[in-house]
Amino acid sequence: MEKSTEMGMNRTGIAMSPIHSKAMISGSQQLTPVERPDGQAVKLMERQFIENAGKVGSVPVPGTLSGALKTAMEKMTGRNPEALLNKMGERLAFERSGVRLYESMIRKCEAVATLQGAAPLPLDELQHIRSEELEHFRLLKTCMTDMGADPTAQTPDADVSGVAASGAMKVIADPRTSVAQCLEALLMVELADNAAWELLIALSEQMGMDSMADDFRQALKQEETHVRRVRDWYEQAVMADAGRENAARH
């Protein structure tokens, strides 16, 4: 791996400046009014905000009521089709961002390869995963279009899952992070992605969209491979780091 874990001048803990820390701790104890920690005021304030809060947003109204949509809607009679469209929109956005995440990862590995003469991960496998993420995005785009939904709209769950994944994107984009650190972020993304595909399949079946559920099952199979590969790479990277002889200690 290109960057090993090393000891250095990390200054964040109290042990790094014992004199200052002693003064800080005693000051906090002596000069802070003694009250039992109380979360009630915050709870009350939060409750008021929650009670008065709106929603993140809505699922867009279908642009056209095509024949396909009519058929789909008929199949879903008595159910809530918006729930399915919301989740399809979420997967579409997640897969689309996944393509960009893998592209960022590939660029980082290529840069390491240039520096060290060898890629830290098999680039062809990363490319393969990236192309499957792109396929999944396109599959969802087709499914949503066939249902008369607008695949360019951002559904509420697409928005929220994007917020949830934003930390992973930051980790991978940071030039200072190691490949192992990026793999941990990717693993979080892939684990969530796997669970989400399983849910989408169950949801499609419940809505009577059996053919679509079959397509999604194929995507899940590929995603299961992604999670296994990323988990293996991650574990190997951390183990290799732990097993490396530290020149500084000798």
């Binding site: 964040t12 109290i14 400046s17 000051g27 906090s28 920690p37």
Partner: protein
């Protein structure tokens, strides 16, 4: 090292150039660099931001100076970019906020002690105790919302203890105005100090106004809205100590001298060699700006810059923990309040401010709520058995 303002020309303006690559230097390490390196970076971002803002306003009010202002301002903008881009992306917005308050506390405390004018020193001490309380409130927020310890940022240099309660800091606008220094009699260092602290507080106000709405947590959103309001009061307070009778060019010269003074102070204290080289380079840039503005001053006002500027830059601002001074100030002055431009005991506070505050707090106080029962301790309050059991 002494920096004589009349013997040096600094880097000529036409040699002050940047590539886009230079505008985005490798950042410092949040974990390994000294907290005071981050303090200096944040302060200098504020100093440059205010120089830029001042120069834009000048250009809109003075046709003859538009061209030199545009040339110098472009360089100031790029200097600010280099400086601010030294902060790394792994700082969460609340962690950066903790660092901003550390700037407000440590720099204001250092300046309060070097300020020769007693009234101005009192103004600084007054504001200091308010920013000190913000640190306590934001540390509680960081602990209770993100589960993180503010001391990872503070590195034990700065206390996390209540100051003048934030909910008591809300005042009527006329109780935020202060007497200004007299341009004819004030010492140069007093003029520079005022620009430094006003610039720092202005960027803090702007930072909170920008990042406040990026939070999802409703208490965080509300707390940033509250403290941004106090920072607006602080900008009013520190802006009002500057003599409004100074001419535009007089002010511009002081701004440039103050930028040079601050880069010089940073350079003298810096422990990170890469960052020190930036301070050194930009000190020379500012001396170049100052030389040019001195010429404009002579040309337009037919006066000698020595009437305004000191022969040499004052002793550098101290970058070290001001714990004892802050605690002493806390002990003596926590109950001070404002009535117009005067500082008075809590019992004599202006009725207008009391009314203003009562209304503002009437639907709840986020700063009180977020820190209720909070006591900072190493590794967050979750290490406390009473909290764990809750």
């Amino acid at each position: 090292m002494t920096v004589n303002l009349f013997d040096t020309q600094g880097t000529p303006l036409d040699q002050q150039k940047f590539t886009l690559r230079e505008l985005s230097p490798p950042p410092i390490s949040k974990l390994d660099d000294d907290a005071f390196t981050r303090v200096r970076i944040i302060l200098m971002n504020g100093i440059e931001q205010q120089a830029n803002r001042f120069q834009h306003l000048c250009a809109q009010m003075n046709e003859a100076l538009r061209e030199p202002l545009a040339r110098i301002r472009r360089v100031e903008h790029h200097q600010q970019t280099v400086v601010n881009w030294l902060l790394s992306g792994d700082h969460s917005p609340i962690e950066t906020t903790i660092a901003y308050e550390q700037v407000a506390i440590e720099v204001t405390a250092a300046i309060a002690q070097q300020e020769p004018d007693d009234y101005l020193a009192q103004v600084y001490r007054y504001g200091l105790l308010e920013d000190f309380d913000h640190m306590y409130r934001y540390s509680a927020l960081l602990d209770r919302v993100e589960g993180k310890d503010a001391n990872n940022i503070l590195q034990s240099y700065t206390d996390v203890i209540p100051g003048r309660p934030t909910s008591d800091e809300h005042r009527h606008p006329h109780d935020d105005l202060r007497d200004h220094y007299d341009r004819a009699t004030a010492q140069p260092v007093s003029k520079l100090n005022a620009l430094t602290i006003m610039s720092g507080e202005y960027q803090t106000r702007d930072y909170y106004m920008n990042i406040g709405p990026t939070f999802a947590d409703p208490v965080a959103r509300n707390l940033y809205a509250e403290i941004a309001s106090i920072e607006e009061q602080h900008v009013t307070q520190y802006g009002s100590i500057i003599d409004p009778n100074e001419t535009m060019l007089e002010k511009w010269m002081l701004y440039e001298a103050n930028e040079a003074y601050n880069y010089y102070s940073c350079m003298e204290a810096e422990t990170n060699p890469r960052v020190k080289a930036i301070w050194e380079r930009f000190l020379d840039y500012e001396l170049g700006h100052l030389a040019l503005v001195m010429d404009l001053f002579k040309q337009h006002e037919r006066r000698d810059p020595a009437e305004i500027l000191p022969q040499a830059l004052p002793d550098p601002i101290a970058y070290e923990s001001q714990r004892e001074f802050v605690r002493e100030t806390l002990k003596r002055e926590i109950d001070l309040r404002a009535a117009g431009t005067a500082f008075v005991d809590k019992a004599e506070e202006s009725g207008d401010s009391l009314q203003y505050r009562e209304h503002l707090n009437s639907e709840g106080s986020p700063s009180d709520a977020v820190a209720a029962g909070y006591m900072w301790q190493p590794g967050t309050e979750l290490g406390n058995d009473a909290v764990r059991a809750a």
